[in-house]
Symmetry: C2
Subunit: 159 residues, 2 copies
Amino acid sequence: MSRLESFIRRLTAQRDILDMICRDMEIADGPVIELGLGNGRTYDHLRERLPGRRIIAFDRVCQANRKSMPPDCDLILGEIDQTARPFVGINAALVHADIGSGYDDLDELNLRWLSRLIVDLLAPGGIAASGVKLDHPDLHPLPIPASVSSDRYFIYRRS
Amino acid sequence: MSRLESFIRRLTAQRDILDMICRDMEIADGPVIELGLGNGRTYDHLRERLPGRRIIAFDRVCQANRKSMPPDCDLILGEIDQTARPFVGINAALVHADIGSGYDDLDELNLRWLSRLIVDLLAPGGIAASGVKLDHPDLHPLPIPASVSSDRYFIYRRS
């Protein structure tokens, strides 16, 4: 499979997962956290699906298209494992993490802190969606839509 | 439509168009030119679909994933309207242009030189595929696959 095809499948999985969460699952009150703003396309999607909800976006540097630029107060730049620490305990309803680098070895490094950070940001019962598999005793895997291959995108509920 | 959905449609259109060209159309001898290497995903797709074919890739700066890195001799960096000039007359069999900036006003500026450059790079009878509409008397629009919306991706044959 070419990298173009693989990318289409990843984005489609991302859309289907976020749509399932926003349409079919109960999302408690509380902010949404976007870890890895990138171009801002999933930020835009979440903003459209969850109108009025506060979405706080994190990235190392801002590369977002101006059509998907969060307000200054909701855009936190710098190394995410550091900049997100002050938000621990914010009781997020949903954390979406799309910080895949495209390099497996780097993603492996991120995994070491990502699962723990997501647990610390989420409210009990909150939902995590991630393009990399998470691993923490408080994160319980949820079923994914039939359209999504089981190794491409992941959903968890925090206990 | 969110920007995520729009992007999925654009990439799917890109894949379907390139697949149609590589599978169903007669591609003459001669190199393939990729204007706008980006992450290298369509380069990877073309390389898979047209094995053994020389593909020369252009971009302002190199942002390609290392899995999709062209050999040094086939990677030309700098402002494309300048760096591609020495390749005029190379008789390319196929030119694929994906230089959309995500900003309509910038894309409009690119259009002024892109159509002319593509004509100058293509062999007579050569094929151009582009994410922006091209406009030149020597570029004749070809039908696109039914799966692709008519304003999303474009194919032309050079007279």
